[in-house]
Amino acid sequence: MNTRIIRDIPFNLVEGDLEVSIEYGDGRVTDAWSAGTLYRGFENLMKGRGPLDGLVMTPRICGICSTTHLFAAARALDAIAGLTPPDNAVRVRNVALMAEHVQSDVRQSVLMYMAAFAHPAHAGHPLYDEALRRYAPAAGSSAIDAIRETKRVLEVVAILGGQWPHSSFMVPGGIAFAPSQANLLQCQQLVGAYRAWYERRVLGCPIERWREVDSRAALDVWLAESSAHRDSETGFLLRFGRAAGLDAIGAGPNAFLSYGSLDLPQETAVVAQTRQLVAAGFARGNAVAAFDAAGIAEDVSHAWYRNHGTLHPAAGETDPYASAQEGRAYSWIKAPRYAGQAVETGPLAEAVIDGRPLFADIVSAGRTSALARQLARLTRPATLLPAMEIWLQELIEDHGAPIIVGDGQVPDGEGAGLLQAARGALGHWVRIENGRIARYQVITPTAWNGSPRDATGQRGAWEEAILGTPVANPDNPIEAGHVIRSFDPCLVCAVHTVRRRV
């Protein structure tokens, strides 16, 4: 087989800077190396700062999931102070995070993932003209629609938290201010309007109908059922994706991780399998096991850091060093592993670990693919919007109940804030000593999904996923792009998942 290596291919339509080198032979990707090319050193900036400063600094790690970083920072401080936020604070925090998620899932799908369907390289695809009409950047009908609707649902975060992105309204023990009844009614109206649009344009059916889609066969029935289903964003994703073969590429490591997210209030009508709306777990295929945070460790054998061994983030060390592991290192992203295993995290992992039947069926049949991963993302709001409506209703009914416990101060100690960002598992590990931050460590979803190799040679999730992908033009490997984008890469986050010895 003749192979050649094409280096440093930059991929657009993602958040941040991503370059991938691929080895190519016989029309397929035969190997891959994914590089984060930006190092911002955020965690180092935290050292020595005030104990609450993570609430201001860490949202600035990421412009698309700033609320998630805020939430992780607040959870870490809750843990250190031993505080359990009151029910209404839990509800407000959850609703704000979910508003960010339902925005992100649609924006990434329409403005980034499906925008790539409108590239001239797809000109021979039978649905290309329609893709162009829908997804041309800032001009296609779906793109314009998505920009207008997603910014409206973010008004919910502004009402509850002052602004989006980059607010700091979650504080130790709760939130900084109780929204008024009028505020909450406005949020209810915004979520209701977004749900109506999401059902009409993104699903093409009521959420209740979508939830009946419980297998691959039921998905085919759903797609054939009506033109509203086929013309929706979900329907178009399936039609274009299948015709382009996206259901046959991008399998990945077949191991899935979720930290769990969205704690249920003590009293609530929202029903879930655990005390969280999104369950924690680790799955090989669709065999789900309990998640234990002690199983997380980071390897730097192929990253530009001095190697101090494979360590848990609460005990880890980081020395950025551009000449480290000479000849092997190729990324500023470290390689987090769970029980030694490279995993994927994100909406598909959540669906598998939650045991949602459609995705359990896809995974158990060995049909994990770029298309399945993207379908899980685009349809995740169907699992979030109904709970948002219930929590807003409960906030209105319980208006006036406490929104914070404690005095807003955080003593010396150590704690972690783990939850699910739009892209998957996010953790902050914090230690406070003598009233100052002594260590601040972050592992982002893209560190999991976009990691380089580890010491055993195990590839990161999307490096693994693009192996075998057929590529028509190796100088413009659009097929590999579809696979990598199905992980919703967020390099602005991942590039500073770096820690420093303190």
């Binding site: 911002r40 390289a121 914070i404």
Partner: protein, 312 residues
Amino acid sequence: MALNLYWMQAGSCGGDTFSFLGSEKPDVPTLMQGLDVNLLWHPSLSNVSAPEHKRLLDSLDDGTTSLDLLVVEGAVLRGPAGTGMFDARGGRPRKDLVVALARRARYVIALGTCASFGGFGVAGEIDATGLQFTRAEHGGLLGQDFRAGSGLPVVNLAGCPCHHDVLGGTLMALLAGAELALDEYQRPLDWYGTMVHQGCTRNEYHEYRVEEEAFGEKGCLFFHMGCQGPLTGGPCNKHLWNQRSSKTRVGVPCFGCTSPEFPADSPFFATRNIEGIPLALPKGVKRAHYMAYKAMAAAAAPERLKTRSTEV
């Protein structure tokens, strides 16, 4: 004729892009269409393959494609040791591309505090700088004397992130040929010439010095909670965020994010003070005057504020 816009992200979180997408007056598609802006490149939003992008950069470099607007989001990273390789593309430091494009552009816009002043990491190992300032020091990456093709220096649209309506407003002004009055930090006065404090719904509490000392109260955040609103130029309480609110309205202090010194080294959520009066007073106010005024104001505070029965 369409105006070519090249948008690049350097040491960035992408937050200015996502803030801009929240623009309402007008929204982004309407703005781009109305001003006939041709988005040559945006890393997250434009549908241009790697080989096409390379050809585009070559044509910008040799002048066959004109560059009307260069928007830079994020700090320019000079570390480690001045190489710029903490932010590389294709094995070369991105800072070199910033310089090359800035020399070709009719207007250069630094979007956000990182691009304007360096922001996060100025003092850190990444050696961050803004395009024409490093914090409050004039110079930055491009130097004090830099002028874009139009004759304007870098236009600094500060904020972390930049408020969503500011970029659209600035583009409208530039493309209409209107004079864009800038302050000493090259920020347009239309948005940075007002204080964040102005329009805050807690202003009555400030006026009569009724103070918030713990999260969740009604009161002014200036005296104990670290609010920088009276010292910070910005439109946050004049043009509300996401059409709805602002941080100070929901009990979160202003962190001074449009300032060249953001992020400050001292802890957030705390006001450094002497005898209960903040060390840093509202911009331009003398301490003796302020102490006399606040003592009288506190004495004159009405019951409805002292009992915090007036909503914010």
